[in-house]
């Protein structure tokens, strides 16, 4: 329930901004008993994504060291135990460090796992180049290469506010044994 007396699911997207829709999606996910957030800057501030978690309970956030590949493996492990982890990588360039766990494990377990189907929601973002240009190592955009590398994980690039809530709801509610990688644009957060 937000400050307007409306649940996250009842929000009206027609006049909502991209950032507001992200907050609505995170708030809705935060109401689920099995969700858990992992990553850097999910409990401590420091990135643009942090603000989108404003209404996510603190006890659902695990602030992690910087170990991107281990983070994604941890997310897979927690998913095997019944959690639905939301694993946060504030920039696409950071997710590159987790490519092994993403491509060879989370993505392939539904194929070689003899029945294991971990469901993880991965959040990443293509960085804005304004008001500061983060330079070439921080504004990478790799949606298409990841689509080519992934066989079971669905990659969804969120280009408009209207996509945001439904895409996160789909990622959570899906029962097809697939995980979801959602690519955001921080330029649209404001």
């Amino acid at each position: 329930m937000n400050c307007h007396g409306r649940t996250a699911e009842q929000g009206d997207v027609s006049n909502s901004s991209y950032g507001a829709e992200l907050r609505r999606a995170m708030t809705w996910l935060g109401e689920k008993p099995d969700t858990i957030w992992l990553g850097q800057s999910c409990r401590d501030p420091g990135t643009a994504m942090y603000a989108t978690l404003a209404e996510v309970p603190m006890d659902k956030r695990i602030e992690l060291p910087v170990f991107e590949n281990t983070q994604l493996g941890m997310s897979t492990g927690m998913a095997l135990c019944g959690y639905v982890p939301i694993s946060i990588y504030p920039r696409f360039n950071f997710l590159l460090e987790a490519t092994s766990q993403l491509v060879s494990h989370l993505d392939k377990l539904p194929i070689f796992g003899n029945g294991y189907k971990p469901k993880v929601i991965i959040r990443t973002a293509i960085a804005s180049r304004k008001p500061l240009d983060p330079q070439v190592q921080h504004y990478g955009s790799f949606t298409d290469p990841f689509r080519q590398m992934l066989k079971t994980v669905e990659v969804i690039e969120l280009t408009g506010a209207h996509q945001v809530f439904d895409s996160y709801r789909k990622a959570y509610e899906r029962d097809d044994g697939r995980s979801t990688l959602l690519v955001e644009h921080t330029a649209r957060y404001a």
């Binding site: 858990i36 492990g77 377990l109 796992g113 003899n114």
Partner: protein, 196 residues
């Protein structure tokens, strides 16, 4: 399950491989029967087992019926054996299941569970950055994960100590285990080497 049972199973798999009945890589266990039997005295049915491409003994000792395990091996799955009913997950990637073990341990701890996650790996894996960060995280947060390092001083055909210019494997906690053994088989296959 006795040491003789384990050796007999592996010999049967070796024979099948050398007769070209298995068209996929296998990594045979051997020389560590007593260590494995000792470790599995402490492994409960509800525990998780996270391992590598060399998991025949571990699967048998965790309770996978030999005929079920053999069927999976014959079907080409030896390199990444998974048995959800027995909570076994394996990977063909170096250190691949260690971060997954950490996540399992975190989930168990948050839920107040009593299961243990057993993370099995070899000596070269125990020298990787992934191993070190997983081990440090588990130790610092008191997660229910135990690391078992099987040290035959080799990674494929590479001498682990020589390439690291070191005298031993990673220092572990008291409740972890590093044991040394001699593998009587080649790294992969069963004597009739097939490069892949």
């Amino acid at each position: 399950m006795t040491a003789a049972d384990l050796i007999a199973f592996e010999t049967e798999i070796a024979d099948a491989f050398n007769a070209a009945q298995i068209r996929a890589p296998i990594h045979l266990d051997g020389g560590n029967e007593e260590w494995m039997l000792k470790v599995f005295e402490h492994v409960k049915p509800e525990d998780w087992l996270c391992g590598s491409w060399r998991m025949h003994y571990a699967c048998l000792l965790k309770g996978v019926p030999p005929e079920e395990l053999k069927a999976a091996i014959m079907a080409g799955q030896s390199i990444s054996l998974c048995f959800p009913a027995h909570r076994i997950i394996s990977s063909a990637i170096v250190a691949g299941t260690l971060p997954i073990a950490v996540g399992l341990g975190m989930a168990i701890k948050r839920r107040g569970g009593t299961e243990t996650v057993w993370a099995l790996c070899g000596d070269m894996t125990a020298e990787t950055g992934t191993f070190h960060e997983c081990h440090k995280y588990v130790a610092n947060w008191g997660l229910p994960v135990r690391f078992i390092v099987a040290d035959n001083r080799k990674s494929v055909c590479t001498d682990t100590r020589l390439v690291w210019n070191s005298n031993g494997t990673a220092k572990l906690r008291l409740n972890d285990l590093v044991y040394e053994y001699e593998l009587p088989w080649p790294h992969s296959g069963a004597g009739r080497r097939v490069e892949f």
